[in-house]
């Protein structure tokens, strides 16, 4: 039997098998942010093991609550900052240069096909869009990753989701992944890797692929992976041009991580999107998904466009296209958080920021902000938010708040209508 992408990556990185079903793999990168890393740092200090395996392979950002909102978040930043300095970690992104981790690190070219990456953050699966194995882990795994550059995983079984058909106008990667999660459930890929394949994925740009892979965890998946191809090589080319003679040569090299034609999948699901409509969540679980049309007219208090799922430049462009020349409804408040300084700058140059402001949006600095309900847009009890984020858990954006997940196009249309609404980009 042939091998999946994840199996090939594991075979290249395995350094131990402490049990039949457990593999210890070598890590190419360990990513860190200020929420889950400080407890690991403090624990390492307490154990007398304040060391790092390789400062060049550790990438650090303060992104979740930035600027610090109180003394406690300031302390988290301080611990991280001092630790990065102490160990000579060069790739440290502090306020002014910081952005949402899973948008910032790809932009910096930190992920390559075939890489193994961990981070103390469940949406680390995003980086699988580059043909890497990238997984969210807890603080102890992160701690060992920092110390030793290794992590354990069960032998990864893979579900192949073969996305076929043609995406209708106004239906986006976010709608695709919501429909997939609605189909397989929040537990549908637990302990498994999801390979996103098929003509629809092949045609997607890297930002759309990141949106797909970002939400693999919402179906329980360890990682979402897209096979490396010319599109990923072109995205990475500025970072790899000194390593390869040509993009063709890079692609030929990365092709060793393509899945074999007879790869052994735990399951293959054909998912035809030709009749897909824009989707939205309705409950407190990301698999509670319905077409927007069935939820149309649902009142919202806040609209939030941002996060590692949909805070990239293509997302802001789509939202601004829907918003241009309009005003947000006077019953809602709306916030946009460009995911990184680069996205913010591009949005400024392209006039998108002006569009957002003219329509009545508040524009914040790059940060996770409202997504996890820690700052920049927390809901009051009983309030409802239309959000381009990835989690609608009870209390996620503030105690007693309700979050409806949707694409940037739908969120923008909802801001104008004041209630959940399909965007005019959806023409069916």
């Amino acid at each position: 039997m042939g091998r999946t992408i994840a199996q090939k990556i594991f075979d290249d990185h395995r350094i131990g098998t402490p049990d039949t079903d457990v593999q210890v793999i070598r890590l190419d990168a360990v990513f860190c942010h200020e929420i889950t890393t400080p407890p690991a740092i403090v624990d390492l200090q307490q154990r007398g093991k304040d060391r790092v395996f390789d400062p060049a392979r550790i990438k650090v950002v303060i992104d979740h609550v930035s600027p610090a909102k109180d003394s406690k978040t300031a302390l988290q930043g301080k611990i991280l900052r001092e630790w990065a300095r102490r160990h000579g970690i060069v790739d440290f992104f502090d306020i002014g240069a910081n952005g949402v981790c899973h948008a910032l690190f790809p932009e910096k070219g930190f992920v390559r096909p075939g890489y193994t990456v961990i981070m103390g953050d469940s949406h680390t699966c995003t980086h699988g869009a580059f043909g890497a194995f990238a997984a969210g882990v807890g603080t102890t795994d992160l701690e060992v990753g920092i110390l030793k550059g290794v992590c354990t995983f069960k032998t990864p079984e893979t579900i192949c989701i073969n996305i076929t058909g043609t995406l209708p106008n106004g239906v986006f990667a976010k709608d695709v992944i919501l429909s997939v999660i609605g189909r397989i459930g929040v537990n549908g890929a637990t302990n498994k890797v999801i390979e996103f394949a098929g003509p629809v994925v092949d045609a997607m740009d890297m930002e759309s692929r990141m949106t797909l892979c970002n939400m693999a965890i919402e179906a329980g998946g360890t990682c979402g992976i897209c096979a490396p191809d010319r599109i990923s090589v072109d995205y990475l080319w500025p970072f790899i041009k000194d390593e390869y003679d040509s993009p063709e040569a890079a692609l030929a090299d990365f092709s060793k991580y393509l899945p074999d034609p007879d790869a052994a999948y735990a399951q293959t699901i054909d998912h035809d999107v030709s009749n897909l409509t824009p989707m939205v969540t309705f409950g407190y679980k990301p698999d509670n998904v319905k077409p927007v049309s069935e939820m149309a007219g649902t009142r919202v208090d806040q609209v939030y466009i941002g996060s590692c799922t949909n805070g990239r430049i293509s997302d802001l462009r789509i939202a601004a296209r829907v918003l241009a020349g309009k005003r947000i409804n006077n019953t809602v408040r709306a916030i946009v958080s460009p995911a990184t300084p680069k996205v913010y700058n591009q949005a400024l140059e392209e006039g998108l920021i002006k569009t957002f402001m003219d329509t009545g949006f508040c524009v914040t600095n790059p940060t996770c902000g409202a997504c996890l309900g820690m700052s920049n847009g927390v809901l009051a009890d009983g309030e409802v938010c239309a959000a381009t984020t990835n989690r609608n858990f009870n209390g996620r954006m503030g105690k007693g708040g309700m979050v409806h997940l949707m694409s940037p196009a739908t969120a923008a249309a909802t801001a104008i209508a004041g209630t959940i609404a399909n965007s005019p980009l959806y023409t069916r």
Partner: protein, 174 residues
Amino acid sequence: MKSFSGKALFLDRSDINTDEIIPAKYLTEISRDALAPYLLEDLKFDGFDPTADIADKSVVVTRANFGCGSSREHAPWALEVNGINLVVAESFARIFRQNMFNCGMMAVELPVDTIDKLFSTFGGHDTTVETDVDGGTITVSAEGMTETISFTISRFDADLVASGGWVDFADANY
């Protein structure tokens, strides 16, 4: 090795996520002990009252996909600082399960039928769980009823429990 025995807390719902176990707003805490009062604060279902129901419990018995969502290890820590080192469930989310063993705690999976039986026989009663880690059994008892159930954890997970977690194990072996 930690203690895995004591009174049981029955949580009769699937897909309890880590935001419900410990809400994000408490992630600013650096010390684990500070999480103690907030365990399961946002978990809402009929018949559950976090303030009254958690006190003096040492074992959680629950349904499928426990610990899904955010990777926060604050979830096992919030259990740990409340004296809960064992969760028995039909299944776990991957990161949560790994976090438990990484901390030298136990996440034990039992078949659906067994979990159903535990809920129907012991749910709502003052129930105690005695765990024999080496023997791989839990003995559940309440008001004259007793049931001994075997479980299996992998050799690797057992090593983590015995050595108190993954940091020391990894530093010694890799």
